[in-house]
Symmetry: C2
Subunit: 428 residues, 2 copies
């Protein structure tokens, strides 16, 4: 018989308990942060009709980067590469029943068919937080405060990250100021999005092709590289410029000062319609985008509805975990099991009764039924990073007294077995 | 432009916040129960190499019932239809580093390609709890106590469910006592597994074919339908019979008395090697299997390792949810958001500062920035099932006093805005 491989599928991860603890730590901070802003959790299947991604995700993503296949009923199915189309579908489906504004979050797993590399795997999880039904910039403000708070709740300092912000409508005004056609504008936006992945020469070359070798390229590059110059080009009284400035100012007033206007920020997805943002690591060793989002007011219209204004972001677990590792912000692993019970002299029924009472009181306890020596049972508790240890044998059963040892501090204390409250507070 | 459908893919579910609350309630009880027994959470990708399921899941499952496709690298990929092969793969991969016994749990989503019907969807979630590295029946005992505790923690009474138990080795001894060949035994076990889905006649017919129309069929049916007769056939001193009796007796002694020996219980998967069990709903309207599991000592040998003894079970969310609905055990929905803050007179900065302090103290708060009337803002809090409400306007900002209303009891209390501790304990 052929031996089966123990490797997972290419580009995906197994989560052993210690990896899962890290994952759960990150997910719990995400949940706690979103819920502190009144966001409600939703979810959906990873399987979606492929047509959901054809229109608005950007062509490259659907054609080259998704897991898509035909099911046996000849339906085109895709493993979701992102959550925004799904949440748009769900909101559109119950548009008349739901009470707006909606504040929703989810932590779905997403699939991309691409070569695995640092920070990019074929499967990753991503916090999605969105607010639906708000037209004005209060929505962007709340989403940015939430994103900032997420970073702080993960232990980051303001100096560890920067929030770069732009507005697709400002860029459109700029393309117009440079008299670009719609096709040229679209191509220029894609070139700007790729800018930081290559050299300035490559970027200028691609703009030269888009602009038909016009001399405007140098001026265009200088304009998007300097917010001041861009503001001069559009005019300080331009309402879009004023709106963005007022958002940055409002954030600054409530203590969020690591926000900058960056006209080279584009984001890949085609569906954004207004303000977009990305959170960047400021560490020179990990200077990269951590996550981002923006406004997408037109997406729900794809389902044949009126527009529903929407602002949100997606923050992936892989990049956040890299960030936390780089900045030494990951907590060290300790088992969630609080107490390890070694059983001696086959005192199983005595041990089980005791453990049963403690479990009912909410404690998390593993019982060792190997009948090994007390030393071997203690070793197992230490190996498993369980913080407290107790041995129960004939003597303990007779005297109804036990000694619980704190394996971290090595403190040992004696308890009556019936003294559940005291035991819970010692171990808890 | 073609209008996109808002329907999810066939046979899968969207989880709107109220559905998600039910799902999270069930998952939280699963987590709490497993962790109270010292089980550690693990996880893995839904994508697995197809070969993982070919050998031991039962042919029907892989060939007809899975989502399988070729990726662009010509790899055969399957969306996992069950978790046991994955956890076996993970344990086999780190067999030399892991410290046994292992107590592990996970709540993965699983995929089956089949016609959706009540209790059977194309995607469902399933608690998997397993113990690895224990040869004796203490492992089965702990797993059965855990399964029983799960039902109790979900609010079930002992009378609401029954645990049926059997042993594949007892069945093999029975097949031998009836002088069946290996092929006949395998076919008989499959026929028994299907028994409850059809009539006694159909069952006897299929056995007649397997037994080559021998007269033994009536005796065989009578034997598996009566545990007493089966025990007589194998002999009371048969060690397998004694082992099972001692397990049932041991459970009874610690207060678990709804366990019965049922020789017609088979379970579908081929990989079980010893004791198997299923939890049944006793309600006449929902008399069906809720979940089950058993011992599978040979599965890890598929990865070229020595055997690693293993016992576990899988409990699906769809059947459990049906059970909880039937028995009226689902909690009613209340938003996790504790406080809804209405903002009047554009007192946004005052409201934001106040909310910021409360969030830092751990509270979950939604702020309304619609500037609608206080009545409209209150209506939104009621619609969203948020339990507490406060309005902040110029007057509150001036006096630094607020009135928080409990929307359930209609009690209203006045607080100083600086009195965070008192507010947290009123709302918490």
């Amino acid at each position: 018989m052929k031996k089966l491989s123990t490797d997972p599928y290419k580009g995906v991860r197994d989560f052993y308990p210690e990896d899962m603890a890290v994952q759960n730590y990150i997910f719990n901070v995400m949940r706690r942060t979103c819920e502190s802003f009144g966001y409600c959790e939703y979810s959906a299947s990873i399987l979606e009709p492929s047509e959901l991604y054809r229109e608005k995700s950007g062509e490259e993503i659907v054609n080259e980067q998704t897991y898509s296949f035909k099911d046996r009923g000849d339906r085109d199915v895709t493993l979701r590469p992102e959550m925004t189309p799904t949440v748009a579908r769900m909101v559109a489906a119950k548009r008349r029943e739901l009470s707006f504004p909606l504040r929703w979050y989810s932590i779905p797993n997403l699939f991309r068919y691409e070569q695995p590399q640092r920070g990019r795997l074929r499967e990753h999880w991503q916090l999605n937080a969105d607010i639906f039904g708000v037209e004005n910039t209060e929505a962007e403000k709340e989403i940015l405060v939430l994103a900032h708070r997420l970073m702080k709740n993960l232990g980051a300092q303001d100096a560890d990250f920067q929030i770069r912000i732009n507005d697709r409508r400002i860029m459109n005004a700029l393309y117009e100021a440079f008299a670009l056609s719609l096709e040229q504008a679209y191509a220029a936006s894609k070139a700007i999005d790729k800018k930081n992945k290559s050299t300035l020469e490559v970027f200028k070359d691609s703009l030269n092709q888009i602009f038909n070798h016009d001399t405007k390229v140098d001026e265009f590059v200088a304009t998007i590289e300097s917010p001041q110059q861009l503001v001069k080009k559009l005019g300080e009284n331009n309402p879009l410029v004023q709106n963005l400035a007022s958002l940055i100012d409002g954030l600054s007033k409530i203590g969020i000062q690591n926000v900058v206007f960056d006209p080279t920020l584009m984001r890949g997805f085609d569906y954004y319609t207004g303000i977009i943002f990305e959170v960047f690591d400021t560490n020179p060793e990990n200077r990269r985008s951590l996550f981002g989002g923006g406004r997408y007011d037109d997406l729900l219209a794809l389902f044949g509805n009126d527009k529903v204004p929407a602002v949100g972001f997606g923050a992936g677990d892989v990049t956040l975990r890299d960030f936390l590792e780089t900045h030494k912000l990951l907590p060290s692993y300790l088992s969630k099991t609080q107490l390890y019970v070694a059983v001696l002299d086959n005192a199983f029924s005595e041990a089980n009764g005791f453990v049963d009472t403690l479990r009912t009181a909410g404690m998390r306890i593993a019982v060792d039924f190997t009948s090994k020596s007390v030393g071997d049972q203690l070793k197992k508790a230490l190996t498993d990073n369980i913080p407290f240890f107790v041995a129960i044998g004939n003597q303990e059963a007779l005297q109804q007294n036990i000694k619980i040892k704190n394996l971290t501090t090595r403190e040992e204390r004696e308890f009556k077995m019936s003294d559940v409250g005291t035991i819970v507070s010692f171990v808890g």
